[in-house]
Amino acid sequence: MILTYAIATAFGIVSAAILLNAYRLFQGPDVLDRVVALDTMNINAIALLLLAGIWWSTDLFFEAALLIAMMGFVGTVGLARFLLRGDLIE
């Protein structure tokens, strides 16, 4: 019972976080702000997926979360490299 409320609350908090990420992502002002916002949004998406996994009692979401973690990292690295050096592979 307490879990229901806890997860519902957590959903609310994570959703609010995602909204804030989105605000920063659209607002900028710098590209760096947007990249950081995207990365944070990825992390919040992981949280969302794990919460959903607990909610529906399934472990199928776990891989998707893991993949977001990895892919999000790689994407962020790519963007960061592009911003710092202008190219991805040297």
Binding site: L79, F82, L83, G86, L88, I89
Partner: protein, 932 residues
Amino acid sequence: MTPLLIVLLPFVGLILPIILARHSHTAATVGALIPTTLSFGLLLSLAGDVFAGEVFVASWPWIETLGMNLSFRVDGLGMLFAILILGIGTLVVLYAHFYLSDSDPRGRFFGALLAFMGAMLGVVLAENVLLLAFFWEITSLSSFLLIAYWTHVPLARQGARMALAITGMGGLLLFAGLLLVGHIVGSYELSAILANGALIQGHDLYVPALILVLMGAFTKSAQFPFHFWLPNAMTAPTPVSAYLHSATMVKAGVFLLARMHPALSGTPEWFFIVTGAGLVTLTFAAYVALFKHDLKGLLAYSTISHLGLITVLFGFGTPMAALVGVFHILNHAAFKASLFMSVGIVDHETGTRDMRILGGLRHAMPITATLATLGAAAMAGIPGFNGFISKEMLFYESWKLPFIENEWVVPVIVTVGGLLSMAYSVRLVIDTFFGEEGDTPAKPHDPPFGMWLPVALLVAVCVVVGVYPSIAEPIVNAAALATIGGVMPEGYEHLSLWHGFNAAVVMSLIAIFGGAAFFMLRHKLFALAERYWPNLHGKLVFEGLVERVVDATRATTASLENGSLQRYVMLLIAFVVAAGALPFFLFDFAPGNLPATELEPVTIVIFGIFVAACLGVVANHKRRLTAIVTLSVVGLVVSLSFVKFSAPDLALTQLSVEVVTILLLLLALYVLPKETPSEGGFSLRKVRDGILASVAGLGTGWMSYMVMTRPQDSISMTHLEKAYYPVGGGTNVVNVTLVDIRGFDTMGEVAVLAMAGLGIFALLARLNPEHIHGVTRRVLDRYPVMLTSATRPLLSLILVMAVYIFMRGHYLPGGGFIAGLVATVALIIQYMASGQQWSSERMPVNFRIMAIIGVTIAVLSGATSLALGKPMMTMLVPLGEPGTVMTLYFDLGVFLGVVGAMMTILTSLGVLSRPASAETLAHSKETNPWKP
């Protein structure tokens, strides 16, 4: 088996001279002689039985549903032609050995020659008419390569193109004609077609079929008005001319007349068209030949004229005329090949072929002069040579044969033809070898023994057949029997030199003496011709036509394709909208009646962001990097929604594709401007595009809504119940569908991906971007230590993840495609963090080869079931646990294909940044915010 081998040997053997040509000239010649003589030997082993009247038919199924079989037929006619093709082919190879100069690439020459030889053999030995048409096309293609052999000569290229256009067009018409004939008979096998002549001739489609088939024959055999390609093909090396225009290429047309003779001949239509075309060609070409100063030009028109003569004979439709036609094919091949070779020798040794320059060569080159004179005598039809006998028989057959209701037309025309033939033959000999010695570019002398030996052999044939015609009887009789269709002509006993004093003798005498007189008057005729020669050339007409067609197609293309990518996208989407809108109007717009699912707050938030991100991409599209970042949000939300709506496979794929796409875009962005140039202010075009985009998007959305609100069974349930476990042996319906049920699609897709990878590699390999716009280097450290140390352990982690996803794919979400993308990401991050050099040193893998190996594994594992007698892609072959093994291999192929292709693409794009020197980065800033 033997007929198949005869045809295939030249094709298989064409690799020999190509390989051996690197070694030495002699090796290349030997390499070309091996398949030729082997094939010739096999052919001769059948000759005895064929002369005795036997017909060998051998058949293997090929594309049975289309009625196309790999079936061959060796009868008298095929045997005669095959002997000419291989016999003269052998001599031509030998002759070419001496003719070609050191700078001519011999491998290519002999390779194309053997391909042509094999194609000709296929034409004359085919039993299935579709197979005949198939080989017919190959003769057109390979003769193109031969005629254009000296690719640096523009005239050779033009001549080859013209020959290809004319004979290729004829080949298509012939194909249509043969399809009609096959349709009438109900079979494409010659045995059935030849036996059903009455059925074909009584059918409504007889005339169209006849005209189409004859168009094929006339274009190939250079009959008027399609003759002009042949003289223009004289730009080919002389061995090619000797081969193509005596024994093979142009003879394919008259071969077709002979081949279809039992089925199509004997009707007034046949007689009128074939004889008519033949008569016009015969006289017209003989007349033109007399005025050609170029030796090869003279022979070219003489060839056209003699082909006309053979056409006339087949046109008569009588058994005896067909026999004479067959006989003249043999005779013409012998003397024309020898003459082409003699002329080639003259050209080779003196450096010119112009009869106005040449003269008196009999002193300098006595052997060539003798051989050429004998060959020309055969061409002129002097008694004692083979040409005389067949011409005499032609005269006899033509006597009082009514044409256009007049019995004088044919005899007069053929006599004139014979007269002109005599005249140009005499001219060829006198102007080249007699008279005053000409001032030639090179000092003439006789060629080496090996070069005149082929000529001597051919001339020997002319003389022997001319004196003892009965020696040619077995082959001529057998061929005539096949042409006529079973019964030898009445009154015919033997080929003989003297048939008694009759009209033919008178015609012959007129031809010989008239021809000589005509020759005497030649200078006056030349002067007349100079003045009144019509300035009309088939070549000019043809080139004009081609130019007009090219202009028309260019204009059509230009009106559709103006180079604007926006326009293409607009047209594409407009078409999709139009096609997609049609069902709406045909049926209805109403959504279904399924109740909407419950709307959770989280979903509202997520999809709110989704819509905002889509709008954000549009709003930010000019600032490309910002657009890419915003696009990532779209991808993330799409993945999340896949998870929510129970499509974990799609979610995993979407996530991997997403990051790879972002990396690709970033890599490409390096060489592209970082900002989209301004498109200007308000314009009607923007409004139009905006409306189109909105209609397309909203339409798709509404369509999805309609589908989702209607009650229907989920596809996955159907698959689950019907197919996936019993057939595919797995429990993950997506993966089973990909690797088994729709495995063929997957195979194609992986192949396409690999091709795309190789294509991108090829495109980018030599690209050296001149300007890299707006690159800002904010840090000087190329490989930040934080990044390198964080990413190296990730390699193994992500690879383990890839293996895990790969292995369980058949039962739970995953599979080769997702695993391949994940592994790609694992590898590419090393490139990004530690650099190209560091990574490729530690990972010496050629990803292009990996992609090819992957596709190969996929194809092979799909084809394994073929070996077990099951259809392709039957994955449930009994190897251990049902299906698992084969699908695993297939998925491994997919995995390797994806990794290879994606890594190829990513690294080729990455290479672009390597030449980023100070000059190319002229517009870049190098700033370091952390510099003290």
